[in-house]
Amino acid sequence: MEAFAALVDALVYTRSRNAKLAKIAAYLRETPDPDRGWALAALTDGLDFPAVKSSTIRGLLTERVDPVLYALSRDYVGDTAETASLLWPEPIGQVAPPPTVSEAVAALSAMTRASVAIDLAHLLDRLDDSGRYALLKLATGAMRIGISARLAKVAFAQAFAVGIDDVEEYWHGQTAPYAPLFDWAANGAAPPDTEALPLFRPFMLAHPLDETVIDMAEYTAEWKWDGIRVQIVHVNGETRVYSRSGDDISGTFPEIAGAMQIPCVLDGELLVRGSHQGGAAGGDTQGGAASFNALQQRLGRKTVSKAMLSEYPAFVRLYDLLIAEGEDWRPHAWEQRRAALEAFVPRLDPARFDISGVIPATSLDELAEIRSRARDEAIEGVMLKRRDSPYVAGRRAGLWYKWKRDPLLIDCVLMYAQRGSGKRSSFYSDFTFGCWNGDPDAGAELLPVGKAYFGFTDEELKWLDQHIRTHTLARFGPVRETDKSLVFEVAFDSVHTSKRHKSGVAMRFPRISRIRRDKPAHEADRLDALKALISD
């Protein structure tokens, strides 16, 4: 556990990606099995110990520390595991030496709701503060130390000089501590067999276009639909629907999983039908898709009612074809894959699958014009794909670009602030802002319309923190009410009606675009201005 704790601490403080990779790779090379496998699972969020919850840790602490002092500490530190690691009282008398990672995992797996309070306390007693931090992070399954699963996999590839695409592919059939994976990479054994399993293949992703200028002769343009990116996998009569992160969401969308009968791996956008909500079919854009708000009704549900299925029917608008009937199309150029996809789609249920259209544009200027004319709310922007690009995992320079529509903007007034977590811990960095429900000079009130916790620089964050501390009207637990004097220009992707909010609206992806120190609060926008932008 000491080596793992030292790794976790080093990763917390290391900024450079290469230095992080080198540290993880060194750990994976030097640590014996199965410790390194469990550690890798922890870094890639692959561990789950149902008996250990954040609330369990809070409970353990408040038995040992005054609850008010615990709450004040937690509020300041911004992280339950870290607060607990710092507040844990040193044990009295002799304790066993620190556990290995494998011992800790075995002990955590054996814990039940009844035993966790005693068993977890015993483990914590055997560790120093950074050991306790690493253990609690591992136990709650949320490391949040700035290491993505992808980074850990790249480090794995680097540690044993194997290809990252191979690592990604073999990964998904495996479970911690990944003995066959280490056996293959470290000892040269045969790779795990992935053919016969309905496995997730890593998505190909796009860079933002930003200022890049590309030649439209080499690229093709497609609409970027505003749903969720999914992968449909059908093998041996089984279908899986995977989300972008590789989570299996087949159960949430049974009508999709049930509609596929041909062995294949497809890439597409999951959307909800609803021409009455989206733009009309035909014209520049494809119709038939509802806004993201409609799709949201379906997300995150474990069981789906019949009413849901008929009111918000899902379908997949296909972008790409990876594998079809045993043939792996990924090494082929986009143009060839597109032709194969166009031949494949007519064999599918048209109620559940269609193909994302190609936009005929010969220059970026022409594309910009088409993009700006597109009023379909199910469109998030356009994608640019190099015609000769193979389908490769992750984001590769120069192959795919995304060109999102310009965001909407509105001026809001800062109303409440709360301390953030992680990088923003101890700073007031979670902001609730509002718009006027009428004429502020005639006694109108501010109604909260959204929350944001990013969009500002570190310097601005410090300034905001100072502003909030010196402009506090009242405190409600961790929340501070400000004097409502500061105006934010808030950028957001769209706004929808919402019954859950008093203002009646909900913004999608709001972020602080600018701090308008120059603008008096009464000149901020009114709710009507925001409602005029609603696109349900």
């Binding site: 601490d9 300041y76 870290e82 923003r424």
Partner: protein, 334 residues
Amino acid sequence: MPADFSWIRPEPWGIHVVPADAWIDPARPVERALVTHGHADHARGGHGQTVATPATLAIMKLRYQTDAGATPVEYGETIALPGDIKATYLPAGHVLGSAQILLEHAGERVIVTGDYKRRADPTCPPFEVTKCDVFITEATFGLPVFRHPPIGEEIAKLLGALAEEPERCVLVGAYALGKAQRVIAELRAAGHSAPIYLHGAMEKMCRLYEEFGVPLGDLRLVADAPKGALAGQIVVSPPSALNDRWSRRLPDPITAMASGWMRVRGRARQRMVELPLVISDHADWDELTRTIEEVNPAESWITHGREEALLRWCQLHQRKARSLALVGYEDEDD
């Protein structure tokens, strides 16, 4: 007459000793200031008269280029102020020259600690526990998560990092007054005799410490160092220079920071620190609570910092306490 301490009045910009019309660490210019120590948030310029220890006055002169109105008081010395007030300056163990101020009036004793710590520090005499009725204490690290480890462990961590990557240098961000000199003195005590390189802003303060009898060994300026001389060396700069253009001239520095805030990972990451050194010149949670127990005042008044938690601790231990809302004492860099 019941003790009510009405002669001492906390205001947002300082503590007012009413009968003497004197202010302790006032945040704005006043006729008569009693200054606990030389940090800029406590020792502001422009007062008519400034009563402080000789070292604090020397630090203020260095900063404000004038010693007009300077009234020196030695540790243990008592001076009489108008309105029948007696003020005694006692060591606070915070930085060179730092003092607690004991005020006596009408049979009542009030101590204002200024900033203080209880750990040994080779650059200043230790905090003296003194009986009083009202103890006005700082609470910069007033949360039970703040427990500063022994300084020896942190110095060993610094020297270990230096030895591990000899082609890099370790850049230590440290408060220019107090922390920098303490870190250097502790490095010397740990046997590190190599030259230590300074950011230009620290030079004068280090010289002042040496004039007051704190030897700091071979100190050189980064600006004077020939190219290549800094690999494997320790460089000390103010925290503000850590991620500044200035540090680009250094050979791939390991960014360290000596501060009590480094105890919390998020704070270290916010400062983009790779090597956090938990070294503070303030009392940690255990020192704050132990000091209240040892001083055992009738009342504790808690100021600048995280007052709520220390207030709660006092309640839990049946001690009378209140928090003061003083502004402008934010020790973000300690």
